[in-house]
């Protein structure tokens, strides 16, 4: 890693995270408990405690480009065990939202899966599992994802071939639309 220049600390970024998450990253005293308990530490490029430290020093680019914030599954282990009572998982959540807003996505597959999930939701009101999987496979280019599971799932009749469309799906899509309007209005 290059030397990080700490002469100027990106206060704006820290304040933004503070505001959007409602959490104070300066409560963290770097004990490392979050890293110790996190089931995903091995898959992270930066362990959680380092994300917290990077946040304390306002390292916006490193954080938003990190894979860690996408790999986090919000399992809440860090939040539950943090001795400083920081909702670490919520901070990770917030960082992911900011990264998405700034179009910085280091884990394209995860984001794509989330996007497919939400578009399924916006479209039908509920999740159409088969459609979600197929859509993901096509768009990600990983055509064979979970193809091995196909027979199992299909023979067991666990998955529907057609989406369940709810009556109020326009109401659900309206929530998405209003949200988009609001975002546009706020100039994000």
């Amino acid at each position: 890693m290059d030397a990080i220049n700490l002469t100027i600390i990106d206060r704006n970024f820290i304040e933004l995270v503070k505001k959007e998450s409602g959490e104070n990253p300066y409560l963290c005293y770097q004990c490392g408990n979050c890293t110790a308990g996190c089931p995903y530490t091995t898959f992270f490029d930066y362990p959680v405690s380092q994300i917290m430290r990077l946040l304390q020093t306002g390292q916006k680019d490193i954080i938003l480009n990190s894979r860690a914030i996408w790999v986090c599954a919000t399992c809440e282990t860090c939040t539950t065990r943090c001795p400083c009572q920081i909702d670490v998982a919520h901070i990770m959540d917030t960082l992911r939202i900011i990264a998405r807003r700034e179009n910085r996505v280091s884990e394209k597959d995860i984001k794509l899966f989330y996007d497919e999930f939400l578009s399924s939701m916006a479209k039908y009101g509920r999740i159409y599992e088969l459609g979600l999987l197929l859509g993901y496979n096509i768009k990600s280019g990983h055509i064979m994802t979970d193809a091995d599971l196909g027979p199992k799932v299909l023979t067991k009749g666990k998955i529907h071939f057609l989406p369940k469309k709810i009556k109020g799906r326009d109401k659900v899509s309206k929530i998405f639309e209003r949200f988009k309007d609001r975002t546009r209005r706020d100039g994000r």
Binding site: T74, R100, I127, K158, K164, K171, V172, K174
Partner: protein, 324 residues
């Protein structure tokens, strides 16, 4: 005859991959005198994906359902899927803590949510509202071969401030239920370890690594099956068990049942009624030894008799020895 009535939000998974969870929960609740009322035209809770977009959007998607339930006149909704439950609880919690956030969420909705609905897991309802006494009363069958590793998953009881139920590190609600229905529970250390959740699709390898650890621990602690309360956990442990075997060169063959299926079997429902056949790893060998409670009691009585007789005999021998 229903003692109580609750709203019941099954969620998308329970309509698809976890249909056996849905059916078994409904049947068990019925057996316990609980009537369930499904909100009309419910929509997806938003789950984790919505949380990656915006807190507001996530809360709104969840709150739409809470509004529907609120209008039905219920103040409690049973939410078997922990992901849906947490989406509801978080939306409710944040709206309650921050009135401005509440207003913003409601501005995205057709009809406002007024914070009158508590979402609870089926486990919480069973422990808090029904009580273990009743859980025990209803038992008709015993499964002496079952050794269960109770796996709660990561978000059923966490974070504790929001979950407001059971212990976040060593939850015991499932343990207590199993003990009450006469099923042996193993001391399972990975009760709350994360299974990889929704990453099954985009990050299969990662999930396989995590489930490998959980399955290993289950086998190590002497369990012959895993009990779960979450559709994602079930999928990752059961459906993907073969993937783990291939990746880690293991030969796990450990059935993963919903806790409600185990309860149903103890309540005398047939394996078909509990939709056991939807499970990928077949548990038949474990549940085929199921006997009725009266048979079990007879058996126990006979055993007690035998051991008493043995003791008596031993005493007699001692006596004779002493005399001689």
């Amino acid at each position: 005859m229903a003692d109580r009535e609750y709203a019941y939000y099954s969620g998308c998974s329970l309509e698809g991959t976890a249909v056996e969870y849905d059916i078994s929960v409904r049947r068990v609740m019925e057996a316990l005198g609980i009537r369930l009322s499904e909100p009309e035209d419910w929509s997806c809770c938003g789950s984790t994906p919505a949380h990656t977009v915006d807190h507001l959007l996530a809360a709104a998607l969840a709150a739409r359902n809470l509004t529907i339930i609120e209008k039905m006149g219920f103040n409690t909704v049973i939410t078997p899927c922990p992901s849906c439950m947490m989406a509801f609880k978080k939306a409710h919690h944040r709206m309650k803590e921050d009135i401005r956030f509440k207003d913003e969420v409601n501005s995205l909705l057709d009809e406002p949510y007024n914070l009158n609905v508590q979402s609870k897991s089926a486990l919480q309802i069973i422990i808090e509202d029904i009580g273990l006494e009743k859980v025990k009363e209803r038992v008709t069958h015993v499964m002496p071969d079952l050794k269960v590793a109770p796996y709660y998953g990561c978000i059923l009881n966490r974070p504790p401030e929001i979950a407001q139920f059971d212990d976040p590190e060593n939850p015991l609600s499932m343990d207590k239920i199993f003990t009450a229905i006469g099923v042996e529970v193993c001391d399972f250390a990975f009760k709350v370890e994360c299974c990889g959740a929704a990453y099954g699709v985009p990050k299969r390898d990662m999930v396989n690594e995590l489930t490998y650890k959980i399955l290993s621990m289950a086998v190590d602690c002497g369990a012959n099956c895993v009990a779960v309360a979450c559709p994602l956990c079930q999928q990752n442990l059961d459906l993907r068990q073969q993937q783990v075997n291939i990746r880690k060169n293991t030969s796990f063959n450990i059935p993963v049942l919903y806790f409600s299926q185990i309860m149903g079997l103890a309540y005398g429902y047939s394996p078909e009624e509990m939709v056991i056949d939807k499970l990928v790893v077949n548990p038949d060998s474990l549940i085929s030894s199921r006997i009725t409670l009266s048979q079990w009691n007879e058996m126990k009585a006979r055993e007690a008799e035998a051991s008493k007789a043995k003791k008596k005999e031993k005493k007699n021998i001692e006596k004779i020895e002493e005399e001689t």
